[in-house]
Amino acid sequence: MTETPDLEKNPAVARIRAWQPGAIAGLLYFRGEITVLVPRVQLRALAGFLAGDKELAFTYLSDVTAVDRFPNEPRFELNYHLLSLSRRDTLRLRVSLPGDAPVIETVIPVWPTANWHEREIFDLFGIRFEGHPNLRRMLLPDDWEGHPLRKDYPTEGPR
């Protein structure tokens, strides 16, 4: 087990702090991976900053995925896995969303690849992405009821 490094020295964390201190609600370090906790309202601006910043150049979005923490609140966590091709570095952004209003702004203008990821999350978790051009079900039929990856969705028996 390695020691936790000084996260403030990480170039991405330092740059975000210098740009907008309020964009970091917290930092986590686990198994060599840094997670930046981001307030919901800040995500879109921070995404634009990280992708557009010449030094950091997080131009590649590997993955977006959600975790349902039901019955805890805030219920949903969204994880954005970023990759900088020029620096060979990665970063995870995490946003927490409340269970009664799981809505967040889309990041498609920053990373077009988010289009299908967000549609899939909408389909399986019921999280809405504001400004998404085509927020329809993706893997399930259009008339499906419920969102299967939610923890209160039963794995067997009547729904």
Binding site: F30, T65, V67, L85, T113, M138, L139, L140, T155
Partner: protein, 398 residues
Amino acid sequence: MTTVQTAIGPEKTMVLNMGPQHPSTHGVLRVLLELDGENVVKADVDIGYLHTGIEKTAEALTYSQAITITDRMDYLAPLSNNLAYCLAVEKLLDLEIPKRAQYIRVLLTELTRIGSHLVWLGTHAIDLGAMSVFLYCFREREELLKIFEMVSGQRMMTSYFRIGGLALEPPAGWTERVENVVRTFPSRIDEYEDLLTKNRIWMARTQGVGILNAEDAIALGVSGPSLRGSGVDYDVRKYFPYSSYDEFDFQVPVRTEGDCFARYMCRVAEMRESLKIVRQALDKIPAEGPIKADAPGIVAPQRERMKTEMEALIYHFKIYTEGFAPPPGEVYQRVESPRGELGCFVASDGSPKPYRMRMRTPSFVNLQALQKMVEGRLIADVIASIGTLDIVLGEIDR
């Protein structure tokens, strides 16, 4: 999925439904093509026909049991899927794997890559009208499947990589079989190239077709040979080495044209590079040594010890009844599957079952680029473009 918004208007264009059952969609993929004559105005991709809820299923299985469902996502590269998942859980557990097991993992995943590229090459060629390549490719793939069967007991759904190492010691004589492939295969690749690379029909069907520039490819999250055909050298094996890939000497083939031909050349060159890795792995693998990490409570004890030691028997019983519980936390582990970046996100809540298991599958993300590649092109180019993306629908729909 009902209405299609037309770009030009209903009177000038027609909508053609391609798939879901169509031999060249490589599975159950539906593409709604809006056509103006033979030109594609808009291509809408409809997926989900093979959705089986693998991520939900995993939440009800123990960490070890979930390995078996990762095989079933990508039937052409089960070992790559096993590897991504096992590495993710091992990262969660902070578990060190013996070198011997790591090298065997590298060797087998590279053979998987060759096998997967062979199926891609064969089916891509048959889509474009070259029948014989398909038969040759499947002949060679058979040899690889026999190696997998010899090692793991299964041709396709191997589940050979386990958390902490390998399922069992590879049988005696398996390296000779691999040696045989390494010896004979380069001339086989020459054969495919003889049939295709300078073939005028092949060139006409692939050169300048399905162009994807580097900027769009990165923006759309494309990875693997599909990205490297557009001039970006991103390969997880080089960028974020895992499983001792940093000890191997190999090149990452990159082409800058961004068309179907460039991607074809990348994959063919990749098969040769994979052979180089296999060759090196054969030399590196120690004849003897552990194939499982020394981690009681996580890795099942050897059969012999179980019969003589009380602790081993208890551990065996506990592993197979309760499983083991990694500490709470989340990890994201990426590997280079034959199709690109295969990411496995595992969230643990400290229980013996994954709280959330997410597979970021390269086919799913790469397929998004299809629209960009075919719009404004001929309908025949759609076939070439789907083929060149090398998609596996089981992996897309999960």
